[in-house]
Amino acid sequence: MMRVLKRNVIFWGKNVLLNLGYSLVGTLLLIIFIGTGNNRMHQNFLSFMVPMFPYYLFMVGFFVNTIMGQSNFRVYFRVLLSMGITRREATAGFLGSLAASNLGIMLLAWLIWALVPGELSGKGLQMFSLLSGVLFVTAGVIAICGTVVMRWGKIGSIVTGIFYMVLGGGWGFLLSYAIEKGLNEGFLIWTADISQNICRRVLAVGLGGFLLCGVFAAYTLRKTEVR
C-alpha cells in the first residue's frame, strides 16, 4: 500500500506542482495585464495586487486544471496501464492529482488572504468556500470529460471539444461583460451579498459532485483497453 501511494505521489506530485506553477505564472501575468489599466492598482500597487492575487489564482487555476487535467488524462492513463498498474490506481491517481491541484490553489489563496489582512482579503475569506466549490465542480467536469474521451475515443473527443468550445465562448462573454462593468468591484459587490450558508453549500456540492464524477470515471473506465 505504501509502495503504491509513494509511486503515485512521486508521479502525480510532479504534475500537481507543474499545474500550480503554471497557475501562479498565469495569475501573475494576468494581474499585471489587468492592473496596467486599473487606477487603484497604480495608486497602491502592493496593497491592492496582493489580496487580488488569489481571486485571479482561482480563475487561472480553473483554466490550467481544465487544460492540463484533460491533457494529462489522455496522455497518461493508457501509458500507466501499459506499465502494469490497475485501472483503479490510474483513475484514483488522476482524481487525486486534480484534488491536490485544487487544494494547492486553495491553500495559497487562503494563506495570502490570511496573511495580508484588509477589506479585499476579508471578502476573499468570506467567499473562500464558494470559490473552492466552483473549483471542485470544475475538477469533476474535467474528470467526466477525460473519461468520455477515454471511453468513447474520437466521438468522445468531438463531444468534449464542442463542450469546451461552448464553455470557452461563454466564459469569454462573461469575462468581457465583467470587464465592461468593472471586473473587480462589480464581482466583489455581487459576491458580498452571498451568505456564508450558500458558500458552504456550493463547496459541499462541489466536493460531492467531484466524488460522484470520480465514481463515474472509475466505473466507466473499469474495462478500458490499451491500444
Binding site: F11, Y76, G84, I85, T86, R88, E225
Partner: protein, 296 residues
C-alpha cells in the same frame, strides 16, 4: 516455479471474434517465441495475458491468482508493446525521458543501471518525442523498458521491428545474457523468425485467433520434414502423415510433414528429405495452403 495461465480466452470486438477460446500456460524460466501472421491475434493475446485488455470470456491467472486488476500479480508482468504512431498509443506523444521516468516510477523491479547502459548502447536521444523517433529507435525504447523492468514475465511485442540487422543481433545477445543471468521468462512476438529461432526455447504458433501449437522449438524441428520428389513417390511416402503446404510443379511435388509420436518417414521411396527451418515450417503451417490434412 511460477505459472501464468490463460484459460478459454475469447476476445470479441463487436461481432468480430479475434481470439477463439485460447488456453495457454507459460512457465517461468523460458524464452517463448510467439509467432503468427499479421492479424493472427498475437498482440491481443499478449495484452490479455498481461491484463492490459480484458478478455470477453476466460480467465488469466498467475499461480492461481487472477491477474485482472490485481496489483500483486501485475507487478510480476511487463508488456512492452510496440509503439504506434500518434493517435493510437499515447506513449508516442511523450518524450523518451518522460516515458522512461514513468517506467522507473511504476515498474517495481526497475533497474536504472541497466536502463542507463541500454540508453548509452543504443544511443537513445532522451529529449526526443517518441513519435519523432525512427521505427527502430521506438523499438529500442520498448526493449529498454522490457529489459530494465526485471519483471518475472516479460512480454515483447515485435521488438525487432524496424531494427537493423546489427541492432537485432545486439538485442538477441542482450536478451540471452539477461536470460542466462536471471532466468526471467520472456515471450517475444516476432515476424523475423529466422534470426530468433535459436533463441526460442519454446514456440507458440498463433493462427486465426487460435494457438496452433506450443512446443519446444527443438522437438518441433526434429519432427518436421520437407519431402519433395516425384508426385506419386511423395504421396506414397507421406501417406498417413500430417501434411502441410503442398506445392506442385508439373509432376514434382513438395510437402511439409509433422510426424506424430511413433511415426516415421517410410524408407524405399525416391524422395528428398530436408529439415525445414522454423520460418519455412511457419509458412507451411500458416500459409494459405497450410491446412493440415492426413495423407490418403
Amino acid at each position: 516455479m511460477s505459472k501464468l495461465a490463460g484459460k478459454g480466452l475469447v476476445k470479441r470486438y463487436g461481432t468480430k471474434e479475434v481470439l477463439h477460446g485460447v488456453s495457454l500456460e507459460l512457465e517461468s524460466g523460458k524464452i517463448y517465441g510467439l509467432i503468427g501472421r499479421n492479424g493472427a491475434g498475437k498482440t491481443t493475446l499478449l495484452s490479455i495475458l498481461t491484463a492490459q485488455n480484458p478478455a470477453t470470456e476466460g480467465t488469466v491467472t498467475l499461480d492461481g491468482a487472477p491477474v485482472w486488476e490485481n496489483p500483486e500479480a501485475l507487478r510480476h508482468l511487463c508488456f512492452a508493446r510496440e509503439m504506434l504512431p500518434l493517435g493510437g498509443n499515447t506513449a508516442s506523444a511523450l518524450k523518451v525521458k518522460e516515458y522512461l521516468r514513468i517506467a522507473s516510477t511504476f515498474l517495481p523491479g526497475w533497474d536504472q543501471e541497466m536502463a542507463d547502459h541500454l540508453i548509452k548502447l543504443f544511443g537513445m536521444e532522451m529529449k526526443q518525442q517518441i513519435s519523432k523517433l525512427s521505427r527502430g529507435m521506438q523499438s529500442m525504447v520498448t526493449i529498454i523498458v522490457a529489459l530494465a523492468s526485471k519483471a518475472e514475465f516479460t512480454f515483447l511485442d515485435e521488438p525487432a521491428a524496424g531494427l537493423d540487422v546489427v541492432a537485432r543481433e545486439q538485442f538477441y545477445r542482450i536478451l540471452m545474457e539477461e536470460f542466462s543471468r536471471t532466468g526471467r521468462t520472456f515471450v517475444v512476438s516476432t515476424h523475423i523468425i529466422e534470426e530468433a529461432a535459436d533463441v526460442f526455447e519454446e514456440v507458440i504458433l498463433v493462427d486465426q485467433g487460435k494457438v496452433l501449437l506450443k512446443e519446444e522449438t527443438q522437438s518441433l524441428l526434429e519432427r518436421s520434414f520437407h519431402i519433395s520428389g516425384h508426385k506419386e513417390q511423395v504421396q506414397a511416402a507421406t501417406k498417413g502423415l500430417e501434411r502441410y503446404h503442398m506445392e506442385q510443379m508439373g509432376r514434382s511435388m513438395g510437402v511439409t510433414v509433422l510426424l506424430n509420436p511413433g511415426q516415421s518417414i517410410p524408407e524405399g521411396y525416391e524422395v528428398n528429405l530436408q529439415k525445414p527451418s522454423l520460418q519455412k515450417l511457419f509458412i507451411a503451417l500458416t500459409g494459405e495452403e497450410g491446412k493440415s490434412e492426413e495423407g490418403e
